[in-house]
């Protein structure tokens, strides 16, 4: 009965074509690009901020958890409705509201696809710099929630460095503005806090972005090495030398095999590793700079360095990198991609550890990653239909993350914690660190109705807590493990 009431209320706001509730429709919204699944009870497609706020109020009235989803390209399960509830899909909020070419600003709705912003800005010689590999599909709202990266974040920073202000619907339905088109809004930096908060603090309904001038010239280098070690040493040397290229990407032997058998982009099949390096900016001195970087690669025994200035040749060299994840299908039915980051001088050691972990679990691991940032993307190849292989892949992934943290790195560089890595959070953060984050969450989301159970360690209880939640909603949330009875301690992590 309650379900019928909710549906009726939602249809009043969203009309017959703005709500999904039947199982065969909901199936399509039970997953993202991670391996976790969870079916929402209702899916709505708002076209305005007011509709988002209205949906939030309905969910609150009926005690439904809320999960926001853009294009569903996320890799950590952040947009999976594992507790059911109401899913708000932003893809019908896809208008670019303004391109201010004089001030290099864009104002967009959250459902705008990443690359559409650069396409709209290109007429003015501008672009939006963060370029996640899924940029042809992923939405800016998802990018902001995840603080997405991309190959060219080496020189220009990640999403958070390009977001100036947001309009946010809070979990109680109130709409606030944080930041704005000008720099340095006074008070706490709520914009900086919202970016990367994985939909747990508020719902982004509008964003003010910083655009960049398009580089006048780009030179792409392909450096071919016999071993991953040599290539990693070259990466560290290029960074330490004092020129920061636009991007430095690495692919190891396994990845090269997959890519070359899928499409011929001219990587030597017997190479141990290749580096793909973009130097860009002004044409003046750019080729000298490219040759300088080529010499550094040669110093670390690159057996061949190709320099491409012509757009078609550059495109061909990059096509392998951009299609690398897809090409893994040549080697195995499924892959699990990890996202650890290590200090750049630890790359050789950690890459060796990854190979060793693969051997120990009897799994093939390919590496395609943002070497300049130290952001690894080991692709663990397996077959999802085989539970034993799946279990081994997940365990090997966790072990790789552990190795990254031990090397002074972090759990995730750009994919987010979501469901996938929430139980790995204690590897990096103490109980006090996590408690502080839980308090910050409580300042925005005290009832924990927005994206519950994401980002914080689940321990035993997320589901249980949700079923008991309504009865306790009036109680204040307790944070202090030390002063609380043991059964409320779990509240901390939800």
């Amino acid at each position: 009965m309650k379900r019928a009431h909710i549906l009726q209320e939602l249809r009043e706001i969203f009309g017959p074509h703005g709500v999904l509730w039947e199982d065969y429709h909901l199936l399509l919204y039970e997953y993202d690009a991670s391996i976790d699944k969870g079916r929402p009870d209702f899916v709505v497609f708002p076209t305005s901020t007011e509709q988002v706020a209205a949906a939030v109020r309905i969910a609150n009235r009926y005690g439904l958890p809320i999960v926001v989803r853009g294009a569903g390209t996320g890799l950590s399960g952040g947009a999976v409705a594992d507790q059911g509830g109401l899913m708000i899909v932003t893809t019908r909020m896809r208008r670019i509201l303004q391109i201010d070419a004089a001030n290099l600003r864009a104002v967009v709705q959250p459902g705008v696809v990443n690359i559409a912003i650069s396409q709209a800005a290109s007429a003015h010689g501008l672009y939006f710099a963060p370029d996640p590999s899924s940029q042809k599909a992923c939405t800016i709202g998802g990018n902001i929630a995840a603080n997405s990266g991309g190959p060219h974040c080496l020189a220009y920073g990640v999403t958070t460095n390009h977001v100036l202000g947001l309009e946010v619907v809070l979990p109680d339905g109130e709409v606030i503005e944080v930041g704005g088109a000008a720099c340095d809004w006074p008070g706490y930096d709520l914009t900086g806090l919202m970016v990367g908060s994985e939909g747990t603090l508020g719902i982004i309904t509008k964003a003010i972005l910083r655009l960049m001038p398009t580089p006048e010239a780009v030179v792409t280098l392909l450096a071919v090495f016999d071993t991953v070690d040599q290539a990693s040493e070259a990466v560290s040397a290029i960074i330490a030398d004092g020129t920061i290229p636009g991007a430095i990407e690495m692919m190891d032997h396994t990845a090269i095999q997959a890519v070359e058998s899928a499409k011929r982009c001219g990587y030597p099949m017997d190479a141990g590793a290749v580096l793909l390096i973009d130097v860009e900016g002004l044409p003046e001195g750019l080729e000298d700079l490219a040759r300088h970087i080529a010499r550094i690669c040669e110093h670390f025994d690159a057996r061949e360095v190709r320099i491409a200035t012509d757009p078609a040749e550059r495109e061909r060299l990059w096509s392998g990198r951009k299609g690398a994840f897809g090409a893994m299908g040549r080697l195995a039915p499924s892959y699990l991609v990890q996202d650890g980051v290590v200090p750049r001088d630890q790359l050789p050691r950690v890459l060796r550890q990854i190979q060793e972990i693969g051997q120990r679990y009897g799994l093939v691991i390919a590496n395609v990653f943002h070497a300049g940032d130290g952001n690894l993307h080991p692709l663990i190849l397996f077959d999802e239909r085989d539970p034993e292989l799946t279990r081994r892949a997940v365990e090997a992934g966790a072990e790789i993350i552990r190795a990254c943290v031990e090397a002074g790195g972090t759990l995730t560089g750009e994919h987010g914690i979501g469901l996938e890595k929430r139980d790995l959070m204690p590897l990096l953060f103490s109980p006090a660190d996590l408690e502080t984050m839980a308090r910050i969450k409580a300042a925005f989301n005290p009832e924990n109705c927005l994206n519950p159970c994401k980002m914080f360690p689940s321990t035993k209880m997320c589901l249980e807590t949700w079923s008991r939640r309504k009865a306790r909603m009036a109680e204040p949330i307790r944070y202090r493990a030390a002063t609380s009875p043991p059964e409320t301690e779990e509240e901390l992590w939800i």
Partner: protein, 421 residues
């Protein structure tokens, strides 16, 4: 001299002073303060203690300048972790040996400590190229009000694990916790540099230059705009070009490989067609000039009784209107400078307090009408109380209040700095 007298704020001195030497000692001091119910004001060099309201309670000065160690510098990674009491100038002197720098140039940067720069969120001209400390900060360690030590971020350049605590603490004026360590990404020093000065008779004529530098793919290091009064102050001690007809000066600082530097200079000169003077400065003059510019438009702490300094946040294309608004009051002597590509203006006014308040009030109305923001950075506490520290005060302030209540429930860290936190 009594130690407490070295930490005056708005005419008050604290009852207690602590000068911890380690992070653990900071935590212990904060536990002591929690037991005693003391209101705590963290101190670095004191250069920026005038930012924000004077605290409403002030029992303990927590001096962090003895926490001044480099904890880990990984030159090959371009990352560093330091203690918060370290001076920026000392850090950059050390990094220069590696051809690296932390490219921050906030006001009073010769004295300022890392913790103070982070707490105030102040930046300088180099922000045009490198962003502010917000963009360079990759990790922090913080002692909370009860002495609990926490960390956020890490020591890698890309990291999305957990909430971005470095962003929250940056600019929080010491109201949420005491930053004790910070990790940064560093930049290589440019291989070559040059600075050009352009004098214009009106800000409108300078806009084509500043806006073309904003969209220049060579990314100039700094594009700083100064009014004539600021220029004359600098010219008192430096050999700078002169033009009695120039009301506005624009400095363009280019860095990179030599060919890129020359190209930026050529493009700047071409865009500055309305300039009366176009000069390339000598290396020595440029270096001295850039060390002095960040202090311009800022009042030192404690502020003089006849002065106020303010910040306007506008769009880069609104600087001409901003310049006109700043200089509209005849009885106020105004020195201002702006980050030309960022739209931030720092202005210092001198004159009778009543006229200063009218001047500030008009600027606030102007900034709000432009869709921007207004903040009083320096001046007598009475002026800050009369005006309110910043505008617009939006509904988001309620969320800020809740964050403050979560992290410092007893309200003992720099109470009242924001007016409400």
């Amino acid at each position: 001299m009594d130690l407490t007298a070295r930490y005056p704020l708005n005419g008050h001195i604290p009852q207690e002073v602590r000068q911890p030497q380690t992070v653990e000692e900071v935590a212990e001091v904060l536990r002591e303060a929690a037991r005693s119910g003391w209101a705590v004001v963290p101190w670095g060099s004191g250069a920026h203690q005038g930012i924000g309201h004077a605290p409403t309670r002030y029992d303990l000065a927590l001096d962090l300048t003895r926490l001044s160690r480099v904890l880990r510098h990984r030159p090959a990674n371009l990352t560093i972790r330091v203690e918060a009491g370290m001076r920026l100038a000392d850090l950059n002197a050390m990094l220069a040996e590696h051809g690296q720098w932390l490219p921050l140039d906030p006001p009073f940067g010769e004295r300022a400590t890392i913790g103070g720069i982070l707490a105030t969120g102040l930046s300088g001209p180099l922000r045009a190229r490198y962003g502010s400390a917000r963009d360079l900060l990759i990790g922090i360690r913080v002692a909370l009000a009860d002495g609990t030590l926490i960390q956020g971020g890490g020591e890698v350049v890309k990291n999305v694990a957990g909430y971005d605590l470095p962003k929250l603490f940056h600019g929080s004026l010491g109201t949420l916790g005491v930053m004790v360590e910070a990790a940064f990404k560093l930049w290589p020093r440019p291989k070559a540099e040059a600075t050009w000065a352009f004098g214009f008779s009106r800000m409108e004529d300078a806009l084509p230059l500043t806006l073309s530098m904003l969209r220049h793919p060579g990314f100039p290091l700094a594009v700083e705009v100064l009014n004539a009064r600021a220029w004359e102050m600098l010219r008192g001690t430096l050999e700078l070009p002169e033009d009695p007809g120039a009301r506005v000066w624009v400095l363009v600082r280019a860095g990179g490989w030599p060919a890129q530097v020359e190209r930026i200079g050529r493009d700047a000169a071409a865009a500055a067609s309305g300039a009366q003077v176009k000069d390339r400065l000598t290396e020595e003059t440029a270096s001295l000039l850039w060390s002095r510019i960040p202090d311009i438009g800022f009042l030192p702490s404690p502020a003089p009784r006849d002065g106020m300094s303010v910040r306007l946040g506008l769009l880069p294309s609104q600087l001409a209107e901003g310049a006109a608004a700043l200089e509209a009051a005849e009885e106020i002597r105004v020195v201002w400078r702006a980050h030309g590509t960022l739209g931030l203006i720092y202005a210092e006014g001198r004159g009778p307090m009543e006229a200063l308040l009218q001047w500030a009030d008009a600027l606030r109305s102007f900034a709000l009408a432009q869709g921007g923001h207004f903040t009083i950075l320096g001046g007598p506490e009475s002026a800050k109380r009369a005006m309110g520290l910043w505008a617009p005060l939006r509904p988001e302030a309620e969320v800020m209040r809740r964050i403050k209540a979560q992290l410092d429930p007893e309200g003992r860290l720099n109470p009242g700095r924001f007016g409400w936190a």
